[in-house]
Symmetry: C2
Subunit: 300 residues, 2 copies
């Protein structure tokens, strides 16, 4: 099976469609990557591009998009609701197939060195690629945002991992890192009482003593008037979908509430679904190679 | 996505390894097919070859293997425990991806016409490709086996669908057809009492009022001393895995017995696993395109 890395860079442009398209075109100009998704948000003034490919191709495409964003976005003019420190704000690299986390960390290092060396944009390494514990956290790196970092970057504790301790005059700084695949997962409750969703969210989120790899909030789905536990599964191998689902079901029962349904938002790796099937069917000796499509022509 | 058909021909040779290899080599000589599995059984004196590819390539490979088997196997000399009527006994064609059952039925017709026309082996069409209701059933077509069919083939009700009503002098006759993908599925009970497995098997099998697309038996797994419900899921879309598993669990509870686990034997399509995950997670608006790997490079 060929090596595959997913890359989901975030850029500080969510309004000018022609700029978003130009950045996406920089990605697709690289042979061997496949563009999966482009999403933008005008109030955040931010867009997220998802693409996938072999490690080297992904590195080239990430660099090309970062270079294009540096040409087209001026952080001095940028306003938006979402925290950010640069034109290319953050570039996560995600192992998808036949690639280890270590390889993605190395890729993040190579990419960071190129961005700093060739584009003169300072780079911070985060999550699995972080060189110090505190920088595993994106909010810590982004503290003060573009405007605050302009002065603070000169201080020793905010010195970038690559490049000079000085923001690029228009492109700011960029965060590069490696992390496991994130699954956006919502569980809908058969009640409109959002307080119940909030209590259940607290029971599963790491911050409140719940599962290590779960971020969760209770919200109201206004369209359907249903309370919803909205979840980021930040490591579906460490904390699997079925365990979170069963816990939410059990916590909801305490309030006499049923689970109305659940929803995967966007993409999730096949393994996450196979793990669910294997759990509920109590599968013995199950191997991913038993999935017929894993043997298809065209896969290397 | 490219069109993919699976083909699982059964040949009347399970002892002479060089013959089995020569038949498999006839399959792999055709560009665009991928050999997935070769299994043989000496007491049955029979082998089963599994391969996959685009419809036209699969047809060529099935024809090539049938031609090779006709050269190497003499039904006058063949003895074995498994019912059979020809050197190439049966050729099932199975839609896997982006192919309809109707296309597989057409493919079975084309293949049958070629085998009869060029190899002078009479061909019966079965399952979804059957032209009369009685011939949907393989045991009906194989009644009397090679030896009995030799005389009966001349009678109107046993006339082949393609070719003259006369067995090939060494290769006999061949059955060709189209059918949904079959999943071999075992559910192990936490008891050694095989009578309970037999009762549960009766509760789920079509023949005894159970699910339409389920064939099942109760047996003893002697190695582990566990009673087992051994199941052929002949249409996993019509009768899904999760429904059978839940029914077996519920029937077992009646006897105070737990399900120890279950097992997929061999291959099953990804959709069968996705259906299980969607059922247990109560997934809303789920689309197969949300599986990351469905978007991979190399798939057309």
């Amino acid at each position: 099976m060929s090596k595959l890395v997913e890359c989901v860079p975030n850029f500080s442009e969510g309004r000018r469609q022609e700029v978003i398209e130009a950045i996406a075109a920089a990605v697709t100009s690289i042979r061997g990557v496949r563009l999966l998704d482009v999403q933008s948000d005008a109030s955040h003034n931010r867009c997220v591009i998802t693409f996938i490919g072999a490690p080297e191709a992904v590195k080239k495409a990430a660099f090309a998009s970062c270079a294009r964003a540096a040409e087209l976005i001026d952080m001095e003019q940028h306003r938006g609701a979402h925290p950010r420190i640069g034109a290319t704000d953050v570039i996560p690299l995600i192992p998808v197939q036949n690639v280890s986390m270590e390889e993605c960390v190395q890729l993040a290092n190579d990419l960071g060195a190129s961005i700093a060396g060739q584009l003169h944009i300072p780079v911070y390494l985060y999550e699995e690629a972080a060189r110090m514990q505190s920088r595993r956290s994106l909010p810590v790196i982004r503290k003060g945002e573009y405007e605050g970092l302009k002065e603070e970057i000169a201080s020793p504790e905010r010195r970038p991992d690559f490049g000079e301790p000085k923001l690029h005059p228009t492109a700011g700084a960029t965060v590069v890192g490696a992390r496991p695949c994130l699954i956006a997962y919502n569980i809908n409750l058969a009640t409109s009482d959002v307080r119940i969703a909030k209590k259940i969210a607290n029971s599963i989120r790491e911050a409140r003593g719940g599962y290590r790899y779960v971020r969760a909030m209770g919200v109201l789905d206004e369209k359907r008037n249903l309370a919803q536990v909205t979840i980021n599964m930040v490591n579906y191998e460490g904390t699997p979908l079925f365990r979170v689902f069963e816990t939410v079901k059990s916590e909801a029962a305490r309030y006499g509430v049923n689970v109305a349904g659940s929803e995967i938002v966007g993409l999730a790796p096949m393994q996450a679904f196979l793990d669910v099937a294997a759990f509920y069917l109590q599968l013995e000796n199950f191997d991913r190679k038993q999935v017929l499509e894993e043997n298809l022509i065209g896969k290397e």
